[in-house]
């Protein structure tokens, strides 16, 4: 056995060195297409290191096991005229390969535990953001004192034409949104993750955050990005037909830029509040309604109101019937179906515009409109 064991060591060493160098190369590659990215957070770097250590240990063990196996395959073949040995048990060996792996596992468990405790540390967050998963978009609400009133939806921006291959796909195909989440750099941010309908999962690899968004429950998870940049992610839990189409874009900016952005958002919110009290013309409502329709309704009701998952709107009894009923469905949804309650998702102006649009587009020609004030009154009951 002694001689064979020596040859075995030599044989195993080659592949080990080769694989380790491949791994070392992968480790040097920041935004790899074939390995985990260390990302831009301290925790993310810890997770990445842990990943590489465990991978390295696995490769080493694999090299030894496969080395022995291939040695057998090459040298212990019947065609070489060997006589098989007859040994078939050894308590010592069995104990050795039970105990040694146990200690290897123990060595893995220590850094794993430390990293896990770091991930679970949500203390001293400077900014709280509520993340709510919807079928199929994300809603972000800022909770800090100076962030109040800032809340918005983040929808997929990739056009249907690119998805259906009638237009060339852009660089960030499927990973682009109409309104990204904006966060300040070097700031510990705590996300309060929940969902409105089914379970989603908010995953941004570069921030080392993946947490399930569960309807009726709130999960907390923190991150602290140390580099300015745009980081992209996707929903990670199957949530229906739009699961592949609800990306996440996080724009990490300098603290100054963040303050400016926040101020703009608050001004916008105040502006929209003012608009709510105004009366609009048919043309204004139709123009705005078309935009709202394309973002919120089109996926289910079709580009020409022809229906799909949702019922047709073109010539439908609802869109050409009582306007109060139509508005009520828009606000409250239809329980037990995929038709959501948009009252909590759209502001009064957008709600008014989209109902008006549905009644006067796709060949529907009701000529009536809904004003923001009507929506407000309806919501107040």
């Amino acid at each position: 056995m002694g001689f064979e064991a020596k040859r075995l060591c030599k044989l195993a060493l080659g592949p080990v060195l080769l694989l380790m160098s491949v791994i070392a190369m992968a480790a040097g590659d920041e935004a790899s297409e074939y390995n985990m990215a260390p990302g831009v957070t301290a925790v993310g770097h810890q997770v990445f290191d842990l990943h590489m250590i465990i991978l390295g240990i696995c490769v080493l063990i694999g090299a030894v096991v496969f080395g022995v196996m291939f040695y057998s395959i090459i040298y212990h073949r019947k065609s070489r005229g060997v006589t098989p040995a007859t040994f078939h048990e050894s308590a010592k060996v069995e104990i050795a390969w039970t105990v040694v792996p146990f200690f290897i596992l123990l060595a893995m468990a220590i850094p794993a535990t430390t990293t896990l405790l770091n991930i679970y540390d949500n203390d001293d967050a400077e900014l709280d953001v509520v993340v709510t998963g919807y079928q199929w978009k994300w809603k972000y609400e800022y909770l800090s004192e100076n962030g109040e009133n800032v809340a918005f939806f983040s929808n997929l921006r990739t056009p249907q034409t690119e998805i259906h291959n009638t237009a060339d796909k852009g660089e960030n195909y499927l990973l682009e949104v109409d309104e990204p989440l904006v966060l300040p750099v070097d700031t510990k941010v705590r996300f309060l993750v929940t969902a409105n309908d089914v379970i989603h999962s908010w995953w941004v690899p570069a921030l080392a955050v993946k947490r399930d968004a569960i309807p009726g429950f709130i999960n907390e998870v923190s991150t602290k990005a140390t580099e300015v940049g745009v980081y992209r992610g996707q929903c990670a839990e199957l949530c229906g037909k739009g699961h592949g189409f609800m990306p996440i874009v996080v724009n990490v900016v300098s603290k100054e830029e963040y303050a400016q952005w926040l101020a703009t958002k608050q001004a916008d919110a105040a502006q929209i509040k003012k608009l709510m009290a105004q009366t609009f013309t048919m043309d204004q409502l139709m123009e705005r309604g078309k935009e709202v329709y394309e973002v919120n309704c089109l996926a289910c009701h079709g580009a020409a109101g022809e229906g799909g998952v949702g019922k047709p709107i073109a010539g439908s009894a609802i869109a050409t019937g009582d306007i109060a009923i139509h508005l009520g469905i828009g606000i409250n949804g239809v329980p037990g179906t995929a038709m959501q309650a948009f009252g909590s998702q759209l502001n009064d102006l957008d709600q008014a515009a989209v109902i008006t649009y549905q009644r006067n587009a796709f060949g529907n020609n009701m000529g009536d409109m809904v004003q923001p004030i009507d929506v407000y009154k309806r919501k107040k009951g």
Partner: protein, 520 residues
């Protein structure tokens, strides 16, 4: 005595009313192969859609139906019944019993399967389509937000559970009561041991699955709120109950595969299995551990950190008995006199690829790293290494190994080896790149993906088509062997094979061991 030695009945009635373990085993095997082809064709649709970015062939709703049915049919229709078929054929022959202990129940447990899968497949043509919530069917996507097909799905799961429970009771009763004199527990072939333990796992967890789908049924039709927070329930409860079934389920699938490989490797190493006793203890330890690790599928649901740590440590421990098994197999080969017929090739393929799947499993057990791996293609790669290269490769090895004994005819060895190499290359081309896209951030169960994943996905699709196509060769080889293969009359078929099943005539007579054999 003359009347006792009757042959099989004629015509369709033979199969419909049969209580013969060999006939029932044959039906299980053919049925599972049919389901393997059906589930495989769904996989081909999935890979065809993922060949390039963009939506080309199917809409996302249909894509989700394909991923759901692919998983359900492969797990419940292909892999599980195939090993039950193998158990039916082999357990009586391995322990020296004339038949299974409960032959009529055996017939029933098979015959309720085909209509059930017909019903499940028929949901594809229903309004609203087949179930679309994935084979894990998490609530509330599978309850409040599901189409009418969910009710049919629940009924199917109930019947499949019944079939599995009946099958496993039968195996337990057979192994415990019908061993030939002298066949003590610690003399049983390892395949019998792994199935005995598997059967206990099945009896323990199938009722849990039944309870789960019953709760779903109540939520969907009777106004309860088990899985709805709005009514005081909890969607995460669903996942706990599901994985309490689901984790033992993966060992239900892989333990009989361990058994098969433990029969084949010694045969072609011409050397007894190394560490038989420790193999038995390792199998039992894996079975025990499988009950206390379920929440490692749920690291991201927001468990308390103490829970995460418990499930992480328990899961890591599984590496110990699994490692013991791998080391024992390699030691069995060490200083043997190896030859590489098709069954051995598939067994070695199993050994290498299952070990890789085991390594990625260990990586996934590390909770902090799993926050990045979870629900990515890394997971898809991991479980296909375990399910396909583990269970399916071992099943394929089993068919090549025992087919000559079953039908007395030899398959074409060259074609068998070709099948292995095409499978091996196709499989790795399909699933190895999925580790990379998963680590780079591609979520699973998406019908369309970002451009940086395009190259590896195309590779993966080509590999999947190759692996899929190689099964046609397998089918042809098996049919050609049964119909016109070279006759084998040698009782042992393989010179290194050991065990009672190799002491009976070839092909195996319709009734065997009507008088118990002598066991040394």
């Amino acid at each position: 005595m003359g009347d006792h030695h009757h042959g099989p009945a004629k015509g369709f009635g033979r199969w419909l009313f049969t209580t013969n373990h060999k006939d029932i085993g044959t039906m299980y095997l053919w049925f599972s192969f049919a389901m393997f082809i059906l589930g495989g064709s769904f996989a081909m649709i999935i890979r065809a859609e993922l060949f390039q970015p963009g939506l080309q062939l199917v809409e996302p709703e249909f894509f989700n139906q394909m991923t759901t049915l692919h998983g359900l049919i492969m797990v419940f229709g292909a892999i599980m019944p195939s090993f039950v078929g193998l158990a039916n054929w082999l357990i009586p022959m391995m322990i020296g019993a004339p038949d299974m202990a409960l032959p009529r129940m055996n017939n029933l447990s098979f015959w309720i399967l085909p209509p059930t899968f017909l019903l499940l497949a028929s949901t594809l043509f229903m309004e609203g389509g087949a179930p679309q919530a994935g084979w894990t069917f998490y609530a509330p996507l599978s309850t409040t937000y599901a189409g009418p097909s969910v009710t049919y799905f629940i009924f199917c799961i109930h019947v499949l559970g019944l079939s599995s429970i009946m099958g496993s009771i039968n195996i337990i009763a057979t192994v415990m009561n019908m061993r030939a004199p002298g066949m003590t527990y610690m003399k049983m072939p390892l395949f019998v041991w792994t199935w005995l333990i598997t059967a206990f796992l099945l009896v323990a967890v199938m009722p849990v699955l039944a309870g789960l789908v019953t709760m779903m049924l109540m939520d969907v039709h009777f106004g309860t709120s088990f899985f709805s927070a709005a009514g005081g329930g909890d969607p995460v409860l669903f996942q706990h109950v599901f994985w309490f079934f689901g984790h033992p389920e993966v060992y239900i699938i892989i333990l009989p595969a361990f058994g098969v490989v433990s029969q084949i490797i010694p045969a072609f190493s011409r050397k007894p299995l190394f560490g038989y006793d420790s193999m038995v203890y390792a199998t039992a330890s894996i079975a025990f551990l499988s009950f206390i690790v379920w929440a490692h599928h749920m690291y991201t649901v927001g468990m308390p950190v103490a829970g995460e740590l418990f499930f992480m440590y328990a899961t890591m421990l599984i590496a110990v008995p699994t490692g013991v098994k791998v080391f024992n197999w390699v030691s069995t080969m060490w200083r043997g006199a190896l030859s590489f017929e098709t069954p051995m090739l598939f067994a070695i393929g199993f050994l290498i690829l299952f070990t890789i799947g085991g390594f990625t499993g260990l990586m996934l057990s590390i909770a902090p790293a799993d926050f990045q791996y979870h629900d990515s293609y890394f997971v898809v790669a991991h479980f296909h290494y375990v399910m396909v290269a583990g269970a399916v490769f071992s099943m394929t090895a089993a068919v090549y190994f025992w087919l000559p004994k079953w039908c007395g005819r030899m398959y074409n060895e060259t074609m068998g080896k070709t099948h292995f190499w095409i499978s091996f290359i196709g499989f790795n081309l399909a699933f190895f790149p999925q580790h990379f896209v998963g680590l780079a951030g591609m979520p699973r169960r998406i019908p369309d993906y970002a451009l940086q994943f395009a190259d590896f996905n195309m590779m993966s699709s080509i590999g999947a088509f190759i692996y899929g196509a190689s099964q046609i060769l397998f089918l042809y080889n098996v049919i050609a062997a049964i119909v016109a293969g070279d006759p084998v009359s040698d009782e042992k078929v393989w010179d290194g094979a050991e065990g009672l099943e190799w002491t009976i005539a070839t092909p195996a007579p319709y009734h065997t061991f009507e008088t118990p054999p002598a066991v040394r």
